[in-house]
């Protein structure tokens, strides 16, 4: 009915008038959401590539059996503190874009923390150098995902994205062998996350038309 249309029209006008107050809708930005997503996708692929070399070097440093291709140790309870990429793809795909992006953002922030701790302890100069470079790139990915969320009008998940003193709420491994297992799982989870994120961003790219800033009104308390 005509009344509803009029209501919607007034609603939209009110929203547009409030545009400057919405931090997510910065129309003067050169990058549309589409480009942001493309960059994030590219960064994810680059990190995947970097991780292959880093993981290879690191697992050789840990020594056999950690660097054997079929190595599959038990996932002990303590190792579950590393964010795990859900195997259930249907569940994952059933989430909203916002939920998926937020999960990515939180996971990489925490993975970054763990990696930074690793950096402080690792033996050889070559490994430290590679790790430092990877951490810098991963930090870039976290910021990039934040940028995509902002450009789509989603709120950033709460909590520190920067480097805290250590991984939140965890005790260090009680012995060196368990620490090696933790390191193994950290790298494995990183691999899975990056593999899945690439697919996520690829799909998201197709959803968002390029060079158009999309208005998302659902999360602003209207």
């Amino acid at each position: 009915p005509a009344g509803d249309s009029w209501g919607i029209f007034t609603f939209l006008c009110a929203a547009l008038c409030n545009l400057p107050a919405l931090p997510a809708l910065n129309c003067s930005e050169e990058l549309g959401a589409g480009q942001s997503i493309q960059q994030t996708y590219d960064l994810t692929r680059y990190l995947e590539h970097q991780l292959r070399t880093l993981a290879g070097t690191y697992l050789n440093y840990l020594g056999p059996p950690f660097n054997e291709p079929d190595f599959n140790p038990p996932r002990l309870a303590r190792a579950e503190r590393v964010p795990s990429a859900t195997v259930d793809l249907d569940l994952w795909r059933g989430l909203t874009d916002n939920a998926r992006l937020a999960a990515n953002y939180r996971a990489y922030s925490r993975l970054l923390c763990y990696l930074r701790v690793l950096d402080g302890q690792v033996g050889t100069a070559e490994l430290r150098h590679r790790l430092a470079h990877f951490c810098a790139s991963l930090q870039g990915l976290v910021l990039s995902i934040g940028g995509v969320m902002s450009s789509l009008g989603y709120p950033l998940p709460a909590g520190p994205a920067g480097p805290p003193a250590g991984p939140p709420g965890t005790a260090p491994a009680p012995n060196d062998f368990l620490k090696k297992m933790d390191d193994f799982w950290l790298l494995k989870e990183l691999q899975t996350w990056l593999w899945r994120s690439a697919k996520d961003f690829n799909r998201l790219k197709k959803k968002v038309p390029p060079a158009v800033v999309t208005l998302r009104l659902e999360a602003r308390g209207f």
Binding site: G63, P64, P65, P74, A77, T124, F177
Partner: protein, 375 residues
């Protein structure tokens, strides 16, 4: 693989993460947690992924299996050898990292240099090769000879794996004591103390703006020019230079030592039609009036230039080095003959005169060739 109990680790190994000398022996035990329905006969051991022989096992209790390792070699990786206790189906129950190596030896060959008297970089060598089994930490320490406090260098690996850089707060005209401490899980070793004054080990940047160019049409010469390093202006040292050059496809460098403190030099006796690579380096000496030489800088980046192609000879074939020398000697004889004739009363036999003569020589060769005679 075994399913995991959330409450406890499946098994415990003793000793956990021990440190051992190369050649020592070890008996390790694996005790399965009471929550797990495993017996000693259900277990086996691997070391760095390789199964250990059952002959070295012994059951010490219903759920405790030991293994005897004799005459251990140095650790395969610095993160420790992986000694793992498995259940029969291959699942990992527990692991222990074995650190097998040698205590460090005194680091040796400490050499230091200061860039423009502003900082100090030192490098050293580890005492033995054996220090690669265990991770060895090196700490460079220094103190003023006449004052008590030890300082520790912070920036490592600036000039290779065994190096450290002290960026500031260094005193001049007074000796420093410098030494390196090496430590690993098995012990500590301290190098001999080196004593030096910063002013004794000064080096500088290589010369900048190195240009190599032809000398007119002269086929066997190249002219090299460069600028003194900028730091020269800041403090009172003089500079002496060295040039090295080589033919493009050779790895043998020829060094010109007596360049002195000029910023240009003429290379002679070169092959015509050849590409040469030239580098220059600088040594700051006479710092604050002392007679001592400093440390040679790095060589400048190679600059390339080619000598003009020879006009004479069939198919651009260049005379060999020996021939070139006799050619040069013959030419010099002719030169002095010519000078006697044309330079009456002139006491300055400068290089300009030589050039003019060379040009004249080439011209006369050209006319001779045109007439059809061999030179």
């Amino acid at each position: 693989p075994l399913s995991v109990s959330p409450a406890a680790d499946p098994a415990v190994i003793s000793p956990q993460d021990p440190t051992l000398l190369i050649g020592s022996s070890l008996v390790a035990t694996c005790t399965v947690s009471p929550d797990f329905p495993l017996k000693a006969e259900d277990l086996y051991w691997t070391l760095n992924g390789r199964r250990l022989p059952a002959a070295s096992y012994a059951a010490l209790g219903p759920s405790t299996l030991s293994v005897a390792l004799a005459r251990l070699n140095g650790s395969r990786q610095q993160s420790g050898d992986n000694l793992v206790c498995h259940s029969r189906d291959g699942g990992i129950l527990a692991g222990s990292c074995l650190y097998v190596g040698l205590p460090p030896e005194k680091p040796v060959n400490i050499t230091c240099w200061s860039k423009n008297m502003k900082d100090l970089t030192c490098k050293w060598a580890p005492g033995t090769e054996g220090e690669t089994f265990l991770h060895t930490n090196y700490t460079l320490k220094y103190k003023l000879r006449w004052y008590g406090r030890d300082n520790t260098c912070q920036e490592y690996h600036t000039a290779g794996p065994y190096s450290c850089h002290i960026p500031k707060d260094l005193a001049l005209f007074t000796p420093y004591e410098i030494w390196v401490e090496a430590s690993n899980r098995l012990g500590v070793a301290v190098s001999d103390v080196v004593m030096l004054d910063i002013l004794d080990v000064v080096t500088t940047d290589p010369p900048s703006d190195v240009h190599v160019s032809r000398v007119g049409d002269l086929e066997d010469q190249l002219s090299v020019r460069w600028s003194s390093p900028p730091a020269l202006k800041d403090f009172l040292f003089q500079a002496k230079y060295q040039i090295q050059y080589r033919v493009e496809d050779s790895s043998e460098w020829k060094v010109v030592d007596d360049v002195g403190n000029q910023t240009s030099c003429r290379l002679a006796g070169l092959r015509p039609g050849t590409v040469y690579f030239v580098q220059v380096r600088c040594n700051p000496f006479g710092i604050y009036g002392s007679k001592k030489a400093g440390i040679w800088s790095d060589w400048s980046n190679p600059t390339a230039a080619s000598t003009p192609r020879s006009e004479r000879g069939a198919g651009g074939c260049d005379p060999k080095g020996g021939e070139q020398n006799t050619t040069l000697r013959r030419e010099l004889k002719q030169f002095f003959g010519w000078v006697k004739k044309h330079a009456y009363g002139c006491s300055n036999l400068g290089i300009k005169l030589y050039d003019q003569w060379r040009v004249w020589l080439q011209k006369s060769h050209k006319t001779r060739n045109q007439v059809g005679k061999e030179p």
